[in-house]
């Protein structure tokens, strides 16, 4: 088993909580794991990404070689395209379609979506509304993670355990909300595949 994943978003959007869930689940399954994070300067509203590598064998490099990523998981549509050179020709893009507009020259949504639809393998989802339907827009990250779960090569069970562990300090209600969001994302993706 080997999965190379790029997580993409904008500084402050919290892609690291997605990384943390996948990481915990991978540990649960006693897989090897390397996760290169971006700290510092770009966290101030800039483009951020994290390289996440899972494998049943030891992993050498902290960075994924260009053109070899199995998945790009993005919480922002323009950011999902920024790392295309990293994606394997057979790889998937899973992205939220909710734009984070903090630059004056942000592209037209229509053009952006056309660019994504050109790709051979993608899942797009309105994570914000789906999260809202589950109870809070704050769970949008978990919706996106849920949509990625069919591709991760991990047991759904270990991912749910990870979500429970990550949020258990915040009380049962929050745990349930995030699990609901996770499942909503997963069901959405399963229908699109």
């Amino acid at each position: 088993m080997k999965k190379d994943i790029i997580l993409a978003g904008v500084g402050g959007q919290g892609i690291l909580s997605i990384a943390a869930c996948i990481g915990l689940a991978a540990l649960e399954e006693t897989l090897y794991l390397k996760q290169a994070e971006v700290h510092g300067m770009s966290q101030r509203g800039g483009a951020v990404q994290s390289n996440l590598r899972l494998s049943s064998d030891p992993i050498a490099s902290d960075l994924i070689p260009a053109g070899k990523a199995d998945l790009i998981v993005a919480v922002e549509p323009m950011e999902s395209l920024r790392y295309l050179p990293m994606l394997d020709p057979n790889g998937w893009i899973i992205t939220s379609i909710n734009p984070f507009v903090n630059i004056p020259d942000y592209p037209e949504m229509e053009h952006l979506m056309k660019e994504i639809w050109k790709l051979p393998r993608y899942i797009t989802l309105d994570a914000n509304s789906m999260a809202k339907d589950c109870g809070s827009i704050k769970a949008a990250n978990m919706v996106v993670l849920g949509a990625a779960t069919p591709f991760l090569g991990l047991e759904q069970n270990s991912i749910e355990t990870a979500v429970k562990n990550l949020f258990k300090n915040k009380g049962n209600e929050i745990v349930e909300l995030n699990l609901k969001a996770l499942r909503a994302g997963r069901n959405h993706a399963l229908k699109q595949i």
Partner: protein, 538 residues
């Protein structure tokens, strides 16, 4: 022992806690910050009374750590690469005094300048000061080498430099920890003149340091951190330092490299091993995450030896960090061309947070300076440096911490009057205070804006040494009371703020303006913690 999921920085911190460290000293700086933060959050560190507070700058941190070493205890000092420039005087002389308790200096380099002004290679400093350097290739080695570094420092009685780079510092993986050891007891140096670098003593100590080089090299050859991996294809030999070894391995499924490799993790270089590889192979490829230090040494001035490939002959890029593809290309591996980034994807540079106090301060400054024309604002390093970009375009320099005030002095001396300095609160106490003293003694016609957001914002909101002290400091350094002005940087006070700044700019002497409003990131973090504490009380 337990296995933990740790960043490289955290592995170093955990190893230092397990390794009997009594105190850690640091000034924040990406990618080194998480070392101190991990110790500060660690229960074990608290239980063992490990001292873990931020210092005013890297030099004071280095000196405090040296003092702890003098007293016989194990100490660590951490900084980003440019911090070592600030600490250099203490660092290089600490090699001459030598250590008593184990002293480990961690320098975190930032090749590709993800969050830095340059990509200097700290191994140069280690070599310059003639002390051993350890360069881990992964997080496990970072843990093991930190444990080893304290022992090596005590065994050789000198400080040891641990050099890491961004990718190792900020990448997380499973790390096996080993049995903790107790802290040292207080113990003075055997020779009470060891730390007195009067010329007569320093000469003797320096000769001792020189005398230790052979032993240090022998240890480098035996420690296991440098080793030759034998392979049959001798058309090329590869020297892989630190992290680059991983990028090399990544290019071979199941790790079956075809060429002999000398894996380097400890310096001074083990000459016998280097020679063995050199003699047995037709060409040598040197992989270094940083400057081409070993490559340059191997080539020599005239480059008349066998072909040495690396950053200097164009086999690898001359600058920037390595990655698996760059290393693969150097080995003639073919990578599939990934897709291009679509043109409509626009740059998304970092920017000041919405509602940041710095924005209001610079809007007021821009207006106050409008009649003088652009190009007069010397600034410094911190979140506020982002005001150089659109839409504010408010500042004209960012060089090294503290430079804003001193550069404004020089520019004013040259006739650029008025000149303005804009500096953050943490940067001011890091190294702006001495510049201010110069300005006061010089009676420079400059206006200094000390942007007080009550934190060290850029590196993630660490406590600022300046907190609650700025007015007293500037008063103490000789700025007259009537030219110390505190502003509230909010849109609704914009006009008043512009008027105050204008007035001070017109004054032909040193004036201080302090726009004061807490960083909204630390403010919201505080509020969250407060709310949490409240619910827990109920």
């Amino acid at each position: 022992m337990q296995k933990l999921l740790l960043l490289g920085d955290e592995a170093i911190a955990q190893a230092a806690i397990d390794g009997g460290m009594s105190g850690i000293y640091a000034y924040p700086g990406t990618p080194s910050t998480e070392i101190m933060e991990y110790v500060q959050a660690s229960k074990a560190a608290k239980e063992n009374n490990i001292r873990a507070l931020w210092s005013a700058n890297e030099k004071t941190a280095m000196e405090s750590a040296l003092g702890m070493s003098y007293a016989g205890k194990r100490a660590m000092v951490c900084m980003k690469h440019v911090g070592l420039n600030v600490a250099a005087d203490a660092f290089i002389n600490a090699a001459i005094t030598g250590a008593n308790g184990g002293l480990v200096v961690v320098a975190a380099d930032d090749p590709s300048m993800h969050s830095s002004q340059n990509e200097q290679d700290s191994r140069f400093y280690g070599k310059f000061s003639l002390i051993p350097i350890l360069e881990p290739s992964n997080q496990q080695e970072a843990y093991d080498m930190t444990r080893y570094a304290f022992e090596l420092s005590e065994r050789m009685r000198i400080p040891v430099l641990l050099r890491i780079t961004t990718r190792l510092a900020h990448s997380r993986t499973g790390v096996d920890c080993s049995e903790p050891v107790k802290q040292n007891d207080l113990k003075l140096p055997d020779n009470l003149r060891q730390f007195v670098l009067l010329p007569a003593i320093a000469r003797k100590q320096y000769r001792e340091l020189l005398g230790k080089q052979t032993q240090m090299e022998a240890i480098s050859a035996e420690s296991g951190y440098n080793r030759i991996i034998e392979r049959s294809d001798k058309s090329l030999g590869i020297i892989a330092c630190g992290l680059s070894y991983n990028y090399l391995l990544e290019n071979y499924t199941d790790g079956k490299i075809e060429n002999p490799v000398l894996k380097i993790g400890q310096y001074p270089l083990p000459l016998d091993l280097v020679n063995e590889l050199y003699e047995s192979c037709e060409e040598i490829l040197v992989l270094e995450e940083g400057y081409p230090i070993i490559e340059e040494l191997l080539r020599g001035l005239l480059n008349k030896s066998k072909p040495i490939k690396g950053r200097l002959d164009g086999t690898l890029p001359r600058d920037g960090e390595l990655n698996p593809v760059i290393v693969g290309n150097a080995l003639g591996k073919k990578y599939p061309q990934g897709q291009a980034v679509p043109e409509l994807v626009k740059n998304r540079p970092p920017k000041l947070c919405d509602g940041c106090a710095h924005t209001d301060a610079f809007l007021a400054l821009n207006e106050a300076l409008a009649s003088y024309g652009r190009g007069r604002v010397f600034s410094d390093i911190g979140c506020y440096t982002l005001s150089a970009l659109e839409p504010l375009e408010a500042i004209n320099s960012c060089v090294d911490m503290g430079a804003s005030i001193s550069m404004a002095i020089g520019a004013a001396d040259a006739g650029l009057v008025p000149a303005v300095a804009a500096i953050g609160d943490s940067t001011f106490t890091h190294s702006g205070m001495t510049g201010l003293l110069d300005a006061v003694n010089n009676n420079s016609p400059i206006t200094i804006i000390i942007l007080d957001n009550s934190t060290t914002g850029m590196t993630g909101g660490q406590t600022s040494s300046a907190f609650g002290k700025i007015e007293n400091i500037v008063r103490g350094l000789g700025v007259p009371e009537e030219h110390i002005k505190v502003l509230k940087p909010l849109r609704k006070y914009h006009n008043e703020n512009v008027a105050v700044i204008k007035e001070e700019i017109e004054y032909q002497g040193v004036s201080i303006i302090i726009p004061r409003r807490e960083c909204i990131q630390t403010l919201s973090r505080r509020m969250r913690q407060k709310a949490k504490a409240k619910t827990m009380n109920i």
